[in-house]
Symmetry: none
Subunit: 123 residues, 2 copies
DNA sequence: TCGGGAACTGGCCGGATGGCCAGGACATTG
DNA sequence: CAATGTCCTGGCCATCCGGCCAGTTCCCGA
């Protein structure tokens, strides 16, 4: 069908882990319609992978805390989160407090930023 | 050779351009050893492409708003931002208000999340 | 059986936040 | 010059936030 109207897609790699980078380069390099970017070449898309070592130890968040965190990232207020999860505002505050503590954040905005930075959530 | 005991590499796609996203999804979806991530699934790597033309509106933020936004993303309170920028808390609130309006956010957490999503700031 | 963690709820309170009103200074552009 | 836009400041006020105290149910592991 559409082969010639679409030129090769140039992909750049930004992978911290050398092993993963090598595997991806091998896999992607042999795909027809794809080409890996030369150093400095402008790519249509970039494959990025955060360094797994940047995540110390899994920051043990409970399921409920993840629920609350996700809604926080949506900009939801405590009241909204409470309604959404069917719990009381007090309980939401309780979980938010735990989140602030575990994520070493000073406020909910900081907590979401930290969580996003660490890959705990995706914005 | 390298014994490929390695499982599939899960790839997430974050492509602004729907056409490019579709082409990449088709190409990458048929590569042995690769799998595209389900929505929200944690991926080993992410393919990103920010189409500069996809945000021509560029959400016209003034320099001062960008200053405030950056500090907000650091989790700074209005008082801290005021001290940092050498302006009054009222002025900070003013800029925050403009930010909330321009970014269509309900609060500072939402504003930071939106800005990060749109690539206005990097967490 | 006796912790202990997770989840949940309540009250209280100081401070932060955001919306609204008002104003002035300063530079760029028509 | 006048207009526009950015930046700055002030007050007022309803609401929200986060921290503190307290308690209750579960369920799991020592």
């Amino acid at each position: 069908m559409s082969e010639d109207n679409a030129p090769e897609i140039v992909l750049a790699l930004e992978i911290d882990d050398p092993a993963l980078a090598d595997r991806l380069a091998t896999l992607l390099g042999s795909v027809a319609g794809l080409r890996l970017a030369a150093p400095g070449e402008r790519a249509a898309a970039t494959v990025v992978a955060r360094d797994p070592r940047s995540m110390p130890d899994d920051i043990a968040l409970t399921q409920r805390e993840l629920d609350v965190l996700a809604l926080m990232a949506e900009g939801a207020s405590n009241k909204m989160i409470a309604r959404q999860l069917g719990i009381s505002v007090h309980t939401v505050k309780f979980h938010v407090g735990s989140l602030l503590d575990k994520l070493d954040a000073t406020g909910r905005t900081d907590a979401v930023a930290h969580a996003a930075r660490r890959g705990v959530i995706d914005l």
